[in-house]
Amino acid sequence: MRRFGAVQALAGVDLTVHEGEFFGLLGPNGAGKTTLISILAGLTRPDSGSARILGHDVITDYRAARRALGVVPQELVFDPFFSVRETLRIQAGYFGLRRVDDWIDEILAHLDLTSKADANMRSLSGGMKRRVLVGQALVHKPPVIVLDEPTAGVDVELRQSLWGFIRKLNRDGHTIILTTHYLEEAEALCGRIAMLSAGRVVALDTTRNLLSQFAGLTVRLVAERLPATWQARVLRAEGGVYLLRLDDYADLEALLAALRTERIAITELALQEADLEQVFLRIMSGARASATAVPA
């Protein structure tokens, strides 16, 4: 558990990520993902409870826990005094590793930064700085890698090459924990996913099970308004664009009938198969509903 003043950032999170997994940690802003990662990294201390990395407690055995962990932080931070290569050498040195230039060259090549090795960090673009952060997390060859929104601000092409590299690390046996706002990335990469809402785990399953469990249809409807009887099915509503949950195709006929009865004009209507984004929206709307429910 972790409380910041009146705000309880995490409450009763009980998670085990298995060795070699590609694990996704999803949730809206403020759900507690970064707090959870900060506890694993030793940046935040929990008010109660414990966390372990490969069996090493993050407080009582912090040296072994931190050696086992590489963290790509969410904030785009850098030290303006140093070049890319110096930054990576220094980071390796903090872990007591010296003469690691071969590994640094390999990291730079995988992150497409070889030509920038001697450039000062200040001169790099946002995407390049983000890749250096990934390099810093990998430089001590940690078996567990946590990536907190690693592709924010990285263009599509580089994102693909970055994921190729992370996938390779996962195939080589590294455990990967990922938080991302790009749900299609989580769907494509993660074998198992935990969804957090208001500091609690509201879903924890394999990506495949989550998709099949919440299988169904959604319909994207552009209309002036929605029949009152369909408000409960809304997953998302933005300026006349509604995303509605359907249990089956028969529901579509019922929706059209309701629209006809209330003489609501349809501008656009499209059916969609369930994907992780819709699973996410359904779970989050369920979590919000249960959080605001008043006991009878």
Partner: protein
């Protein structure tokens, strides 16, 4: 299996690179400032001020004070500015994510501060020797070295504490301008406390900076306002006390880890 060694030498190396890359600002500028103090004060006061009953010319008396003042102020500046910059820009996270222990952080930041302070002090001594060459033959070099090491360690530790405490640059500037600078200036850099009225003389004995400068000066002249062993005892006590406070803050993660 990856074999991990000690990490603090790298943090120390980074601290040294940090000030060395801007040596013009961190080494040469304070040397020039001290030189200006020497030229102006010794020129204006040489014939008006008598120190140690006239046994030492004022210009010569001034040099060890200026050297030690530069050592102290630059030691403080190094650890405090490094830490506050890392906190504000957020790159302190790169240190906090590592297995570096509180003692590792303490050693690296304080040693970095000591090396910068002593480098500036040596620079000031080198340029002022041109004006007072007789100071090259100091009678008690080990006393001078001991006080330089202890003084720089104390101010490096104070800088570390201030850097941990401050959330903004102006808080750090407040600490520096209202605490460090007055205590340094009122410590006998520019005068012997025996030339002060009795009240101010007594008050000076509560200023730990006075003992650092007086003990350091003993190394150059074999003369001092208080016995160098007394100064050494007080300065050592300060060093140990501040080190314990800094280590406690680092261990607790105050203002560093949420």
């Amino acid at each position: 299996m990856t074999s991990f060694g000690a990490g603090w030498p790298t943090l120390l190396h980074k601290e040294l690179l940090r000030f060395w890359k801007v040596a013009f600002q961190t080494i040469l500028a304070p040397v020039l400032t001290a030189l200006l103090y020497l030229l102006i004060f010794s020129h204006v006061l040489e014939s008006h001020v008598s120190v140690y009953d006239g046994k030492v010319p004022y210009g010569a008396f001034l040099v060890p004070g200026l050297v030690m003042m530069s050592v102290l102020q630059n030691s403080f500046a190094n650890s405090s500015s490094s830490l506050i910059q890392s906190k504000i820009t957020g790159n302190l996270i790169f240190v906090l994510l590592t297995p570096l222990s509180p003692a590792d952080l303490f050693i690296a930041y304080v040693m970095g501060a000591m090396i910068r302070g002593i480098a500036v002090g040596l620079g000031v001594l080198a340029v002022t020797l041109f004006f007072v060459p007789s100071l090259l033959y100091l009678p008690h070099p080990l006393w001078a070295l001991g006080f330089a090491l202890l003084g720089s360690a104390i101010l490096g530790t104070l800088g570390l504490i201030a850097g941990i405490w401050a959330d903004k640059f102006d808080q750090l500037a407040t600490f520096q301008n209202f605490f460090i600078v007055p205590l340094t200036f009122l410590s006998g850099v520019f005068y012997s406390i025996h030339s002060l009225p009795r009240f101010w003389q007594q008050l000076s004995h509560f200023n730990p900076f006075f003992y650092m400068i007086d003990g350091f000066r003993y190394g150059f002249f074999g003369l001092s306002d208080v016995a160098p062993s007394t100064s050494l005892g007080i300065v050592s006590l300060c060093a140990v006390s501040l080190a314990l406070i800094a280590l406690g803050l680092l261990r607790g993660g105050w203002k560093l880890r949420a």
